[in-house]
Symmetry: C2
Subunit: 367 residues, 2 copies
Amino acid sequence: GRQVSKGATVSVIEGDGIGIDVTRAALAVAGAALAREGAAPLTLQPVRAGAGYYSETGHDIEPGGEEKAGEADAIFLGAIGLPAIRHADGTEISPHLRLRDRYQLYAGVRPVKAYPNAPQRLADPRAAGIDLVIIRESTEGLFYSAAVHGRAEVIGSEEVRETLRISRKTTEKLHDFAFRFAARRAEKGRSGQLTCVDKANVFTSMAFFRQIFDEVANRYPDVPRGYNYVDAQALDLVRQPWAFDTLVMENMFGDILSDLAGGLVGGMGMAACGEIGDAIGLFQPAHGSAPDIMGQDKANPLAAILSGAMMLDYLADTRGHKGYAAAAARIEAAVESGFAANALRPMEFGGDMGTRAVTQVLLDTIG
Amino acid sequence: GRQVSKGATVSVIEGDGIGIDVTRAALAVAGAALAREGAAPLTLQPVRAGAGYYSETGHDIEPGGEEKAGEADAIFLGAIGLPAIRHADGTEISPHLRLRDRYQLYAGVRPVKAYPNAPQRLADPRAAGIDLVIIRESTEGLFYSAAVHGRAEVIGSEEVRETLRISRKTTEKLHDFAFRFAARRAEKGRSGQLTCVDKANVFTSMAFFRQIFDEVANRYPDVPRGYNYVDAQALDLVRQPWAFDTLVMENMFGDILSDLAGGLVGGMGMAACGEIGDAIGLFQPAHGSAPDIMGQDKANPLAAILSGAMMLDYLADTRGHKGYAAAAARIEAAVESGFAANALRPMEFGGDMGTRAVTQVLLDTIG
Ligand SMILES: CC(C)[C@H](C(=O)O)[C@@H](O)C(=O)O
Ligand SMILES: CC(C)[C@H](C(=O)O)[C@@H](O)C(=O)O
């Protein structure tokens, strides 16, 4: 029968460069998976933003665009930024950092998973078992001072100071999210150990971050926990990444370690990301806009496609949309089986498949 | 004939845990290499400091110890800190962070080199060619706010703020040091490319860091230069570390990336470090005090021994001591040939050799 219940609404910011290509791929695959489940389709609301838009209009997002983006159930974002288009101080156009702030998207979820036949950087065969998630706080930490917020203190041409902020309010929400997330991982058969990554040996703010972790941990006695300093964690990610399950950390640390971990299992073309706030989530591949290959059908759309699956999961969880969780699982299974059968061979990994070909494999599998 | 010229003086802070074991190994090897070259011996001045000293006396360094340490030509430090002994705010005992500050040890030099038969984490055979140096600014950046300096802003139990500081003065010296360092690498047959690692796309301070890099670069037109964002650099260190030669970056970034890079070629037991200031240098293995294996003859002393070689090189360069550069080269060659012959098999890498056995191999080679 015809689906009558209304689907979720999604604000779509295609952005710059390959952001445009991979967004279309992700939304096509999400649409196909929902249709296959007989679930209500997404209603898409485009929002213009990015460096290209800025160079045309002098604004990094359309008038009222920040507000408009938040009127949907979720936001999907392709990629933003063009190296040649910068602010006077040298920083890049970054309206999405304001979106993280405005919608308090404190929990940046970045899964890192080894797929069969995808590049494996580490020699140890246990690396085939890499399956971890980095939870990057995404509204404060050092990014409290990101140029787009105008909080850097510039002292003539002699000095610049930034402020790293750790607040109890955000950190409690972050750790609570992380413990619940790790508990769900345990239900799915993973170890579900949650590691607090910090630099509590040197910084008062980081000792504070760890102290709040311990306070919140008391509410989750069944979740195994661990601790690691950020420098030791960087080393452990090359030495024994298979030993970790869920890692929670400050914003700048998460930015660095999630790219590092992504590199272990291929590269940024697999790096999905969901940034979850109290009322809305923003989903985007964690890679950049790669303007050198834009519009050439070369970009690997899998990070975007997997981010789309995370979005459907989020919509099922928070908005109760029927069939959305099954559609998400279907996309993930299609990526898994596609790699296992060596049917997914993205150019990023030296394969013969461009954006469209990779997308088509998934559309065919999903049927 | 008998050596009559006076040798260099070195302040020795053995510190905590395995710091004591590896310091003795490093000084024994340095002494043997100097003797073999007929060079004047080091005069050692012990300075007590560390977490053990703190728990006995309530002070993290002996009275007047900071000043005393700086009266020598160089400082050698084993390792400092014991996890169980902390300040009230949870941070660890870190007098060496004050030494970095007091003596403006702005250039933290951390070589990362693949030795034959040492563990290799990466599958790609090109990883055998890893030979890069991270230059970590070591006095400001985020560490401007390290707890030991008392600059964190604690707002009740609600919030902690730290200050990241980038000053023109220190950054100019840092980049100048890095360009000269890269130029010397080129003379020794390496590419000598200098990469500025920052987050100039997001932070005003980092755009400033990059701007000063470009200003200083004008004085070194023959040094090839590159740029990378810190997150992309973390990824590149697992994807193609052999493509890099010298990397210069902010303090916290350097802390993280030097451990990561050290992990690629074995672990912290190989991580030598020299922290160079205008008037003095401090040399120490970059690893911790590992109290779990202290006094058990298990620690890998090679990071300390290679730090000792860096110290001799520094003393030759800045104090003109005869035979010191040759002694340094002799130690490095002994480590290289020891690994090549599989005669160096540290327990850290699953081998059968403790601290004393590794040290003895080098003493025997040096003769
Ligand atoms: C482009 C940049 C603003 C962004 C960040 O640092 O957050 C990116 O690196 C990411 O990881 O999403
Ligand atoms: C122990 C700590 C203070 C130190 C640092 O972060 O500088 C260590 O990690 C290092 O890299 O030397």
